[in-house]
């Protein structure tokens, strides 16, 4: 209640934006808002909703997002495995607007002027902000692997790492593959989006093959020296449940793709031929972050001050989600991005209200992987802000993984998905 009064007095001083007067004009892009959020994934949509919630709906928020609906990457491997549909992992953006008063603008942002504090839209307009939240996700660096750009553009070699049409296309390739065929997934060196994701996908494809095409094989071609997440659990599943189907090949860095012969080429090892190639190249912050110079760590990830996720490059620009330079042991996950969004939203509400920001925020992460259509393993962690070293640190003795794949966590995993989708968008 007190906070509301404080914000209302700010409004009385003329500090608030003019969005309220435009609320009846659904198609009008506002020229100004106190907070503009770019990108409606787990990080951005959560930040947009929680700026509204934590300010008692006193701070205007515009969310710029090109897609008509949110398609979740978590759980999308089950679409590839065949036990979920793309509709199951798709949620609309309309509740952000109808329930929480976030103005959702369906567009791309093509430029950011941190000096004038404006963003430019692909359609031509500009929006002025007091605080900008950038949640651009990741860009797949197709050019780091020879031949991959063209092979992906033709639809032959898919990534399906941004859930959507490619998720369905990959499922179709697997359905059309002959029994006795080979599916190969190539994993880039860490850090990449969703550390356990490729290994979960391998399990999903193996689960499908085991039922429908038992003579087929899954090759996991990993640029890393070992499985990057839940290693002992995944390896046990491959050895016990997918014996003769899954083969794990560490330290294999793909250098080139020959689409014509459906072959992967490496720096040292022999070529690998497969019927279905699923190649994940190295990743970096979404292109808008690279274009605007906000990806200031190796021109790849966005450096942020972890206490409020403000860019180390530009004042009043906050960056959340997979595109940031992570603190140690922090994964690039949807759950983590949602947590970033909340800490950022709270800091922005405090800063715009002239209140102190929380000096000791913390973040949580829980990440479930389905090893078939029912059994799940998880990894969980808690990251406390350390004000001396100005970073997040995991707490010794906290966090951990499942003891073994189990059905109870299969139920929790699906409920987690539904609850986090509602928490992010509903």
């Amino acid at each position: 209640m007190n906070r509301r009064h404080l914000l209302q007095s700010s409004a009385a001083l003329g500090l608030l934006g003019t969005l309220g007067g435009l609320s009846g004009c659904a198609n009008l892009v506002p020229s100004s808002a106190r907070v503009v959020v770019v990108g409606g994934g787990y990080g951005g949509a959560t930040a947009a909703k929680y700026v509204r919630l934590l300010s008692d709906y006193q701070i205007d928020v515009v969310l710029v997002e090109p897609n008509a609906a949110f398609v979740s990457c978590p759980i999308s491997n089950l679409v590839i495995g065949g036990s979920k549909t793309l509709a199951d992992v798709t949620s609309p953006y309309d509740k952000l607007q109808s329930k929480h008063g976030v103005k959702v603008v369906r567009d791309h942002v093509t430029g950011v002027d941190a000096g004038k504090k404006t963003v430019t839209l692909a359609s031509g307009g500009t929006i002025r902000y007091d605080k900008l939240v950038l949640s651009p996700g990741i860009e797949l660096m197709f050019n780091t692997i020879e031949g991959l750009q063209a092979a992906n553009a033709s639809g032959q070699v898919l990534q399906a790492w941004k859930a959507g049409p490619e998720t369905l296309a990959l499922r179709k390739q697997l359905e059309q593959m002959r029994d006795g065929g080979v599916y190969a997934i190539a994993i880039p060196e860490a850090p990449y989006r969703c550390p356990p994701g490729p290994y979960e996908r391998a399990c999903q494809v193996a689960h499908y093959f085991k039922q429908a095409k038992p003579k087929s094989k899954v090759l996991i071609i990993d640029a890393n020296p070992d499985v990057t997440s839940k290693g002992p659990l995944f390896k046990k599943v491959w050895a016990n449940d997918y014996k003769g189907i899954v083969e794990y090949m560490p330290q294999h860095k793909v250098m080139a793709v020959d689409a014509k012969s459906s072959t992967l080429k490496f720096d040292v090892q022999n070529d690998v031929k497969a019927d279905v190639l699923n190649v994940l190249p190295a990743m970096r912050a979404g292109s808008i972050a690279v274009q605007t110079g906000l990806a200031n760590v190796n021109n790849r990830w966005c450096g942020v001050n972890y206490i409020n996720f403000e860019s180390t490059q530009a004042k009043d620009v906050h960056v959340v989600g997979d595109s940031i330079m992570l603190a140690p042991l922090m994964p690039k996950s949807g759950h983590m991005a949602n947590s970033h969004g909340k800490v950022t939203a709270a800091a922005i509400v405090a800063e715009l209200s002239n209140l102190p920001i929380n000096p000791r925020p913390f973040l949580s992460n829980t990440c479930y992987s389905f090893v078939n259509d029912k059994l799940v393993v998880h990894v969980a962690s808690v990251h406390q802000y350390d004000d001396k070293d100005k970073t997040y640190k995991t707490v010794p003795g906290s966090g951990g993984v499942s003891t073994e794949p189990n059905e109870l966590e299969g139920i929790y995993a699906w409920n987690w998905a539904q609850n986090i989708w509602a928490d992010t968008l509903g």
């Binding site: 404080l6 909703k49 934590l54 947590s339 913390f362 962690s381 966590e409 539904q418």
Partner: protein
């Protein structure tokens, strides 16, 4: 002089009141944001989707929640994830979270 003192006193009181006001609002904001770290799994303001096996926290009595958190921590209540999460939280954070959900109406 007396008038000056009166004005000064009024101004000081107003300043002090605004200071207290800012502290309480900051505390409320930080509390809500801290409790929001549970919402990823337990729903916004502790309200889960219909049919969720993950329990709702909204309106949960404080004493009950504190007991459960302690039981997760010492292992007397088995869990899949919560025993690993609660070990990462400070006692003050657990108290703040328990206070928030107990005070939030269903």
């Amino acid at each position: 002089m007396t008038r000056f003192l009166q004005v000064a006193t009024v101004m000081w009181s107003a300043f002090f009141a605004s200071l207290v006001h800012a502290q309480t609002t900051a505390a409320a904001l930080h509390q809500r944001a801290t409790a929001a770290m549970c919402a990823n799994c337990h729903g916004t303001d502790g309200r889960t989707v219909d049919g969720s096996a993950i329990p709702a926290l909204v309106g949960m009595p404080k004493d009950y929640m504190l007991r459960q958190m302690q039981a997760f921590k010492d292992g007397s209540r088995p869990a899949t994830v919560m025993h690993q999460i609660v070990k990462g939280l400070t006692d003050a954070q657990v108290q703040t979270i328990a206070d928030y959900y107990a005070a939030t109406k269903r």
